[in-house]
Symmetry: C2
Subunit: 407 residues, 2 copies
């Protein structure tokens, strides 16, 4: 297992097997009001029509179009005003007989028999009567049953993140709760240097926690631990653990890398160490109790590369639809190369100049370069079967930030 | 003021004046760990270099390149192994004299005098010696000071949402807190029908609350109230109010619309009722105590149109950089028309077919049509100076959902 690093695996190759060992995250019920951004565990389809009856879309007067067929400015048609209160939100069984009109506001359901609304400004009112000087088409200024909300519309799909409009639909359906996937994670930052470093503060674990939250995970534990195989292993085996466990740091082949050893110690059902991605090749994926454990580099770019190239496909493979980044095509300002057979994670800064988009590669500093994540706004994926892209080439960029305007 | 609706204002026309009455939201300090997605009130620039000294980017041996200049497989150069523990995160003042090598792991700072790292696999070790069979370029397998993190890099810009990489940078800078804009909102849902409707549950307020949260606002109050001018006005004037107050419902010219009257009652510094947007024209913007009050339609599409066309430009005008939606160009499958002089908010469903993107307008049902928001994944803005777009026209779509694949 330790020499897995000499034989780097393609993520697409190991994915089907890894998924075979994984359960889905638990499903839990949460209040609809609190469900924004969670991954729904159910598909909810709308079950009724709105409006339930024809409804006014303007303030005015409900009429029968047959009554005003002959209306014109020179011979306005008089209609008797019905003494009924028709207000939005209330459905009353009022009948509009021929020769009558009823005052309605925007949103009122029409009285039975009415089939159009004369706008308030097109009517002269006085003495319990109105005078209509214009004919109307049937259902003019009226919204018909099902136009606003209809049976059979997908409100939310299992595996998709819950949006503001999904919440609106769920509430309209009378739902107080919705079932979601409990995509909780915990993070353990491993390394003696985290506790005693003389020149930097550990930060990659918080980057990972924020990345996870940004993508709809809940992070309910962030801990630090010195290099100690027994303690790391016992943390991994602790009861009541959330779905995803992430170990940060200690994944390479150096003498002080205890993370991988701790993962071996707990006898995972599945484990693979070393992936054909650059940076991030030293990552390790294990499955224990049908839940994933991911060991990531303590270097931020390598960690992000693994989150994008390994964790995202894994979660998507389970049927949870992590949204993709917006993609733009941009012209590469410098050649980028990656070892053949390895998938490259190339940070770029996309900018607009003279109306065209350019992508400037920011590869300096390799896997530890936080600066490249801060300066950049996207990344280019270099597939395994090519060695890179030439300068001037049009590449597809995954944008995680906004594009700046240069001129 | 009540006939403001007959004279609809262009948002771009009223914006400069409205902004003149508004203060920025308060600035507060929050923990960096909790700051994801908040709008930063400060610009933070990085202040030091990482690594502080040349650093190993591989597990191996730190050497002086001059010592191994003549190395080759037939005449490997022997170097004495320094008995020093060089580990990531620690900076020790070890000197590497000529003829010596020191074991390093990925991330270790090199001993003084060393200027390259021989990878572990290119070395034969034994008896306190290593044998190097390959010459090295200066700084090979070494990361130089400033490559990972440098002075002068923008970690976060005032007015921008805080990202995972910003959080990493803030922590690295030793920041425990960051100053952010306190973009809190409260929502009052107004209308007798909300309490007693016989056929639907109110939901637009929760759609608005979720939209606000999605865009980085905090919503700390959602209330409902019957139509009562005094009570609405007193809610508006209550002390300790957050930055943005939103009233939902009761904005049109019907007999039961108390919201606008309540806004007039509190003597706002600025108020405009009626905008040249479709739907959403009945919206009202007021400024009281230098804070915005927005009255939105109770109909979800009209509410969203106002949030996109009025609230977003207003908040952006204050210098808070609300991210834009990804934009795609798509071919319109049906003609859309909007009244000249009015900006149109046309919901569309973008789909891909035979490799091209199409946008199907979903205008049925007008401003109340939640179904169009659920079925759709974006909207097209129709500018005031044109009447719409023809079928087959290429339009720019603001995507708020993902694009489905048709074939």
């Amino acid at each position: 297992m330790r020499d897995g690093l000499r034989e780097l695996r393609r993520i697409s190759d190991i994915l089907p097997k890894a998924l075979g060992y994984l359960d889905l995250p638990c499903e839990i019920g949460i209040r609809v009001e609190d469900s924004l951004g969670w991954y729904s565990a159910e598909t909810v389809i709308s079950s009724f029509k709105l409006p339930p009856k024809p409804k006014a879309v303007m303030d005015g007067y409900a009429v029968r179009v047959d009554d005003v067929e002959a209306a014109s400015p020179v011979s306005p048609i008089p209609l008797k005003l019905l003494d009924a209160s028709l207000r939005p939100g209330f459905d009353v069984d009022v009948v509009l007989k021929p020769g009558f009109a009823a005052r309605v506001e925007t949103g009122s359901l029409l009285p039975i028999g009415a089939d159009a609304v004369v706008p308030i400004e097109d009517v002269v009112e006085g003495d319990g009567m109105i005078f209509v000087s214009k004919r109307l088409a049937r259902y003019e200024n009226v919204s018909l049953p099902g136009e606003e909300y209809d049976e059979g519309v997908t409100i939310v799909r299992r595996g998709c993140r819950i949006t503001p409009q999904s919440i609106a639909g769920l509430i309209l359906e009378g739902r107080g709760e919705v079932r979601v996937f409990d995509l909780r994670a915990r993070i353990l930052n491993v390394g003696d240097e985290l506790v005693g470093s003389s020149y930097f503060k550990p930060f990659t674990h918080m980057f990972i926690a924020s990345w996870l939250r940004w993508h709809g995970f809940t992070v309910d534990e962030i801990s630090m631990m010195k290099d100690d195989i027994d303690e790391i292993a016992s943390w991994l085996q602790r009861g009541g653990k959330p779905y995803l466990s992430i170990l940060v740091g200690g994944t390479s082949m150096g003498r002080y890398d205890y993370t991988i050893k701790a993962m071996e110690r707990i006898n995972p059902e599945y484990m693979v160490h070393g992936f054909a991605i650059q940076p991030g090749k030293t990552a390790c994926l294990a499955v224990k109790d049908s839940k994933p454990i991911l060991a990531l580099s303590g270097l931020p770019v390598a960690a992000m590369s693994t989150l994008e190239y390994l964790l995202k496909p894994l979660i998507r493979g389970l049927g949870l639809d992590i949204p993709v980044y917006p993609k733009v095509k941009a012209i590469l300002t410098r050649r980028v190369t990656v070892k053949l057979g390895v998938k490259g994670f190339v940070r770029v800064r996309v900018y607009r100049s003279s109306g065209r988009l350019y992508a400037e590669p920011l590869m300096t500093g390799g896997s530890g370069a936080l600066a490249s994540l801060l300066r950049g706004n996207g990344f280019v994926e270099v597939p395994e079967d090519i060695e890179g892209f030439d300068e001037g080439c049009e590449v597809e960029v995954n944008l995680y930030g906004s594009v700046s305007q240069l001129d």
